[in-house]
Every structure is written in structure tokens, then in C-alpha cells.
């Protein structure tokens, strides 16, 4: 929504004292039947992108759109609130792991019967699994992503470091720490150039499950005995999703978290609060982000950069899953909403959407068209997804798990006692799971 439209929308809604800030697009072709308006709830500038939407409207001239945008940090609360309201949105664009929460709460419409022929063979199994609940598919998935570690070539080379470029040679965390220390400039805890830059997600503080739960998970071992703490550490939630006790507060996890904590405290190589654009301004040697950052740097190379796989302790692991799209169960136009959702994630429309953002597609048939992922550096993302990818601990209470565990991880990063905090997080998550 550009500024002028926003302004007009504001004026309109202002005069109507409570109209909704719609901007109706001109239906290019004439609409023969009844006009329908679909309301989309999403974060600013998220999927679906204007080009595929306009193309779709040419084929479906009777459909108009109204878009509501809210910041990522408030998306989950807003969806909760709006989906329950008398006038629910028709389309939700949300963080993928919530699919089961929303399906269990009856917010999402099952779309299995709307999926095109051949979808089952073409979709990435991980994406399908993430968006299925009790035998139904609730979202076709629109993109796939994960995080890797970017580095500033100039700074890193000046420090005489050569980060590995393939998964086989990936660093362990202690090796990575040596590199952070060697590359950092200025006093520990208050350097001019940080070893490991802050995230750009949330408010820039450490602790996000998506990015920081992988420290302890990588200290676990999925091949170990299912009763062992190593096994439980890796999964971070029981297989049936009903128990978290003994999955977060394990000896392996605490050891990993003690290391994690030292990055922000004793070693002083990572900041506790956000610094906007630190990596892109050359104020950090290393930086963890999704392919979107690489795609942005390819378009506008502010710095020379490279990518190294995410470091690990014992078992390399990265989180998968990303923004996705779904239709609401209480939509007044379920058929057309489901059709739109499915269309946006299939074939040419899916390509138009995903290529715009620069993340990865969810359809195998589209991979050959993303040439940039065929070679280093962006290939690291594909390799990681295939070899190391795991969904975030899934289940219908993901939103609460996410919030509680993020709070605990953040408190560890700020210097709290890892064992105490993980015990507390287990207790709190268990309370939610028991309800």
C-alpha cells in the first residue's frame, strides 16, 4: 500500500467514522456475476505480491481485495482477535508453525479438496507435514526458508579467517566463537565491530525460537535412545506434542545454553539489544539471517559477503518453515478464498510470488527456475534445508511455546541461570499443554 493510497484510505475511513481502510482495485475485465471482496490480513509488504494478484484478478474479475497490514510482532495477537470477531478476514498470511494452532482453534479452513492434481507429488514433504492437521491440509505453503550465517568478507579476511562454504566443513560453535573473537574490533561487550551481529527479527534482541533454539537442539542427538536426554534435547518437545518436561532442561541443553550465554556476556561478542542494520553497515563480522538478506545483497551489494553454514555442537540442525497463507473457516466466501489461496501457491503464480521475495519455493518443480540457489553462496540454504532442516517443535500450542521459550532464551542471553530458566519454561509450557 503506497503512501498516497494510505492517505486516501485514511481520509475515506475518517469521513465514514469507521469504514475499513480498503483500497479496491479496478477489476480490469468486466464482472458478469456478483462482486466479492476478500479481506487479507498480513504483515506489511508480505505475500501475496501485487503482480500475481493483478494477474489473478484478470482471470477472476469479480473479486476485489482489501488488505490489512500489521507488524509481525503483533500478527499473532491480531489474528486471534480478528478471527474471533464478527467480521473475520478471509485470508490470513501468518507464521507457518501456527497452522496447527489455528486449525485446532477452528480458525482455518481445510483446503485439501481444493488442491490441484499433482500437488502431493510436487510439494516439499516438510511443508506438507507442517501444514497438515488431523488428516487435512490447511495451507498450501508459499515459501520455504531457513537461516544461515552471513559474513562480511572484508572484515573476516582482514582477521585471517576462512569460513567454510560447505556443510561437511561446517564449524562447530566453539570454532565459530574463535572466529567471532578474532574478527571483533574493540573491547569485548562494547566493540566498534561485533563478532556476531544482532538479529533483524522482532526488536533485535536475542532469544527467538526460530533462530536461537537451534543452539541447544544441535547439542542433542535424534539417533540416541528415545528415553535419553540427548534424544529429548534434539526434539525439544515430546513426539505427541503433549509434554515438554525433560525436553528443555537437559544436561546437553544447559551446556549449550551456557555457551550461548557466554556469547553475550563473558566473551562479549554479540550485543544484547538490537542495532539497526549493523551487518549491512559493516558493524558486524557475522550475522544470521534468511535467504531474503542474500537476495537483497545481490540486488544492492552494500558490502562484500559470503555465507557459511550454521555452526553446531553435535547434530547440525536448522529450523524450517516460513510465512504461509490460509483461508479462514468463517470467511463469507470460503470457496473463492480457498481458490485464491491455492492458486497463489501453485504454478506461475507461486513463482511470481516467491521470486519477488527471494526465499525458496515449496514446489519441487519450481526449484530449477531459481538458478541463484544452484551455486555458492545461496546454495548453502538449499543444502541446509535438505540435510539439516527440522520444523520448529510443532503442535497446536506453538504460539504459546514460542513466546515462553523465547522469553526464557532471552533471559539466558541477558545472563540468567540456564537450568533455572529452562526448568521454569518447562513448567510454564506444560501448564499450557495441559489445558
Amino acid at each position: 500500500m503506497n503512501a498516497r493510497n494510505l492517505f486516501l484510505a485514511g481520509l475515506l475511513s475518517a469521513t465514514a467514522l469507521g469504514g475499513t481502510g480498503a483500497y479496491a482495485q479496478d477489476a480490469a475485465a468486466a464482472c458478469a456475476g456478483e462482486e466479492v471482496t476478500l479481506r487479507i490480513l498480513r504483515t506489511p509488504g508480505n505475500y501475496p505480491y501485487p503482480a500475481p494478484m493483478e494477474a489473478w484478478q484478470k482471470e477472476n474479475p469479480c473479486v476485489n481485495f482489501e488488505i490489512n497490514e500489521i507488524p509481525f510482532a503483533q500478527l499473532a495477537d491480531t489474528i486471534s482477535v480478528q478471527a474471533a470477531s464478527s467480521n473475520p478476514p478471509d485470508i490470513l498470511v501468518y507464521d507457518g508453525p501456527n497452522t496447527r494452532s489455528y486449525a485446532a482453534a477452528g480458525i482455518l479452513l481445510p483446503i485439501t479438496k481444493y488442491l490441484p492434481e499433482g500437488w502431493d507429488e510436487d510439494i516439499l514433504p516438510a511443508t506438507k507435514a507442517e501444514h497438515s492437521y488431523e488428516g487435512e491440509v490447511y495451507s498450501p505453503g508459499i515459501e520455504q526458508t531457513t537461516v544461515a550465517m552471513y559474513y562480511n568478507k572484508m572484515l573476516v579476511e582482514a582477521a585471517g579467517i576462512k569460513p567454510p562454504q560447505t556443510l561437511d566443513e561446517a564449524w562447530t560453535w566453539p570454532q565459530a566463537l574463535e572466529a567471532f573473537k578474532a574478527c571483533q574490533q574493540g573491547p569485548a561487550g562494547a566493540p566498534t565491530v561485533w563478532g556476531l551481529g544482532p538479529t533483524r527479527f522482532g526488536n533485535g534482541q536475542p532469544g527467538l525460537v526460530y533462530q536461537d533454539l537451534i543452539y541447544q537442539r544441535s547439542a542433542g542427538d535424534p539417533k540416541a535412545d528415545p528415553d535419553s536426554s540427548a534424544y529429548k534435547t534434539f526434539w525439544a518437545l515430546s513426539p505427541d506434542g503433549n509434554s515438554v518436561e525433560g525436553y528443555l532442561n537437559t544436561p546437553e541443553a544447559i551446556e549449550a545454553l551456557t555457551f550461548y550465554q557466554s556469547l553475550f556476556n563473558a566473551e562479549g561478542v554479540a550485543p544484547k539489544v538490537g542495532i539497526p542494520n549493523a551487518f549491512f553497515d559493516g558493524k558486524a563480522c557475522f550475522y544470521i539471517d534468511t535467504p531474503a538478506a542474500g537476495s537483497a545483497l545481490l540486488k544492492d551489494p552494500k558490502i562484500e559477503w559470503g555465507i557459511t553454514p550454521i555452526p553446531y555442537f553435535k547434530t547440525p540442525v536448522v529450523h524450517t518453515g516460513s510465512t504461509t497463507i490460509g483461508a479462514t473457516a468463517r470467511s463469507k466466501h470460503p470457496e473463492i478464498a480457498a481458490k485464491f489461496v491455492v492458486d497463489m501457491s501453485w504454478g506461475e503464480y507461486a513463482y511470481m510470488n516467491v521470486s519477488q521475495r527471494g526465499n525458496l519455493p515449496t514446489l519441487k518443480s519450481l526449484f530449477p527456475r531459481f538458478e541463484v540457489y544452484g551455486n555458492y553462496p545461496m546454495k548453502v540454504f538449499i543444502d541446509q534445508l535438505q540435510e539439516w532442516g527440522q520444523p520448529r517443535p510443532p503442535g497446536p500450542k506453538f504460539a504459546q511455546y514460542d513466546k515462553l521459550v523465547t522469553d526464557a532464551l532471552r533471559a539466558v542471553a541477558f545472563g540468567g541461570d540456564p537450568a533455572e530458566l529452562m526448568a521454569d519454561a518447562e513448567k510454564k509450557v506444560q501448564r499450557v499443554l495441559d489445558r
Binding site: A76, D77, S80, V81, A83, A84, S101, Y102, A105, G106, I107, G189, A190, Q205, P271, K272, V273, I275, A399, Q400, K403, D407, R410, A411, F414, G415, G416, L421, K427, K428, R431, V432, R435
Partner: protein, 318 residues
């Protein structure tokens, strides 16, 4: 306007007219007047009932259900489970504890500082008007802007306060990222924000004092300090109590600092109760539990307001 709500609560009680006389049959004119009164009162009373009393009932009902705002239709009756949970789990005790500590800190700091400022402003000063205006600026600035301003002032690496501390030879402090410093930092911020309000209230109190009393004491040979301790301060107890109540109620209802600056952390050290309620309802999706917390908060504030009314009415009239 929760803080101001309490402002005239005390004054209001005084104005209730005792019912007098026996009722006679109404004349036509009286009936017309009644109809008119009802019509003129109706819009106000309807809004009052719908937006104050109805939510109260809804809240009481919700507090014995387990439900989420995602799917309120699936509400489950749980009896007093939400209330027993408050005892069984630590979150409620911690949150109420943090909130009381916050309120206590604010009151203990605002009272002396605001009083000193008022004394200072009550003396002959150059630029008195300017000072009085300037200390009121934070009072009219929204808590959102104050929270944003201070989260940057308190930034551990690039904040202004650490910049000042560095000049004084003190190293960077972690402030909001430390369990020990986060709540004191919020108290300091609130002091900055509210002290002007307290000072203006004290100033009004000081200016309302009968001058003869202090003058008489001075003539009797009392020192300035003696006058202050033995005459001025006792005479201002009513004002003081009033400032205490306002600051307490304000602190109990603080939300923006926890929401914008700390998300209640680290380790719940700033998990103020209103933020905890918001979080329980909208993020943890336990709207029933949130309602139960609200009921308890309501009772606490009610108790404080009752105590305030009783105290204000009973003594300290001069």
C-alpha cells in the same frame, strides 16, 4: 482517565444529598420534569451501563471459564480453577509482587522529590514559570513516547544515560537487560514522568495553607526547619495522602513500559500486572485466566480506593 477518576472521588462523596421528606404524589409538572431528567440522563447512563457495568458482569462470568479469544465458542466451565491456578503457579504472585514493588518505589521517590520541588517553586525564584512549565512536560507527554524515549536513553550500548555515565568515569550499565536494574530503571522513568504532577499538587496545597500559621510559628521563634517539620508537613498530610493514592493507582495500571520496553522481562522482573493480563489474554490465549487476574486486580484497587475515601473523610481537615 483512571488517575483523574480518583481525583474527585473524594469530593463526590461529600455531595450525596441525604433523602429528605416524605414523598407526595407528583404533579403533572413534576412528571414532565422527571421525563425530561430521564431523557437528559439517558445517553450518559446507557453508555455507563454498557461500557462499565456490562464488562464487569462479562468479566465475572469469564473468570470461571477456560476459553481463548481465538475460539470463544469452545469455552469450558472450570469453576474456580483459574483462581486456584494463581496460587498453584508463581506467575500471578510474581506479577502482583513486581507491580506492588514498582508502585512502592514510585511513591517513595515521587513524594519527597515532588515535595522538594514544590517547596522550591513556592519560594521567590527567577524563571519560576519556566520551571513549572518544564516539569509538567512529561506529564502531558504520552506514556508511549516516554517509554520510547527512555528505552533509547537506557540503551546499553548507544544510550544517552550511558554516555553521561561514561563522562563520569562509570562503565556502561545493562539497565533493562538486567534483572536487578530493569525495575529500578522503570521506577526512575516513572519518577521523571510523574514528579511534575506531584509537585503541582503539593504546590497547590502549599499555596492553600493559611499564611498566619507559619508566620505565627516564626514569630514564636521556630526555625525554618522546625516550621517545615512541625507545621507545614502535618498540614499537608491530606495532600500527601492524595498524591500517594494517585501515584499508587497510576502505578498499578502501568502498561506501556512493560509492553514497549521490556516485554515483562528479563525473567518477569518487570512483568507488571496489566501487561500480564494482556499477555495472558491475547498471547497465551487464556482469556479466562486473564479475567480471573482482572478480578483480583479490581478487588485490590477497590480496597485501596475505599481506604483512601475513609482516610480522606475522617481526618486532616484544616
Amino acid at each position: 482517565m483512571p488517575a483523574s477518576n480518583t481525583l474527585s472521588a473524594a469530593s463526590a462523596t461529600g455531595s450525596i444529598q441525604p433523602k429528605t421528606g416524605t414523598r407526595k404524589p407528583a404533579t403533572r409538572r413534576q412528571k414532565r420534569d422527571w421525563m425530561f431528567a430521564a431523557g437528559f440522563l439517558a445517553p450518559f447512563m446507557i453508555l455507563l451501563l454498557v461500557f462499565q457495568y456490562l464488562p464487569l458482569l462479562v468479566m465475572a462470568r469469564n473468570s470461571v471459564y477456560d476459553y481463548s479469544l481465538l475460539n470463544p465458542a469452545a469455552a469450558k466451565f472450570v469453576g474456580l480453577r483459574n483462581f486456584t491456578d494463581m496460587i498453584e503457579y508463581e506467575d500471578a504472585a510474581i506479577s502482583f509482587g513486581v507491580t506492588f514493588l514498582f508502585a512502592l518505589g514510585v511513591v517513595l521517590l515521587v513524594i519527597p522529590v515532588a515535595f522538594a520541588l514544590a517547596l522550591f517553586l513556592n519560594s521567590k525564584l527567577p524563571a519560576r514559570g519556566l520551571v513549572r512549565t518544564v516539569i509538567m512536560l512529561p506529564v502531558v507527554t504520552s506514556s508511549v513516547v516516554v517509554a520510547i524515549m527512555w528505552s533509547f536513553l537506557l540503551d546499553p550500548s548507544n544510550g544517552l544515560i550511558n554516555g553521561v555515565l561514561n563522562i563520569a568515569g562509570i562503565g556502561n550499565q545493562p539497565f533493562l537487560t538486567s534483572t536487578d536494574q530493569a525495575l529500578p530503571a522503570l521506577v526512575a522513568m516513572t519518577l521523571w514522568q510523574q514528579v511534575g504532577f506531584g509537585a503541582i499538587l503539593f504546590l497547590a496545597g502549599l499555596q492553600g495553607l493559611p499564611v498566619e500559621l507559619t508566620e505565627a510559628a516564626r514569630i514564636d521563634g521556630a526555625t525554618r526547619r522546625q516550621v517545615l517539620w512541625n507545621v507545614t508537613i502535618p498540614l499537608l498530610s491530606r495532600t500527601t495522602l492524595f498524591v500517594v493514592v494517585i501515584m499508587t493507582v497510576f502505578s498499578l495500571q502501568a502498561f506501556a513500559p512493560a509492553f514497549l520496553m521490556t516485554q515483562g522481562g528479563p525473567q518477569e522482573s518487570t512483568n507488571l500486572i496489566v501487561y500480564h493480563i494482556y499477555n495472558s489474554a491475547f498471547i497465551m490465549q487464556q482469556a479466562g485466566y486473564a479475567s480471573a487476574l482482572s478480578v483480583v486486580l479490581l478487588l485490590v484497587v477497590l480496597a485501596i480506593s475505599m481506604a483512601q475515601m475513609a482516610l480522606l473523610r475522617s481526618r486532616w481537615n484544616y
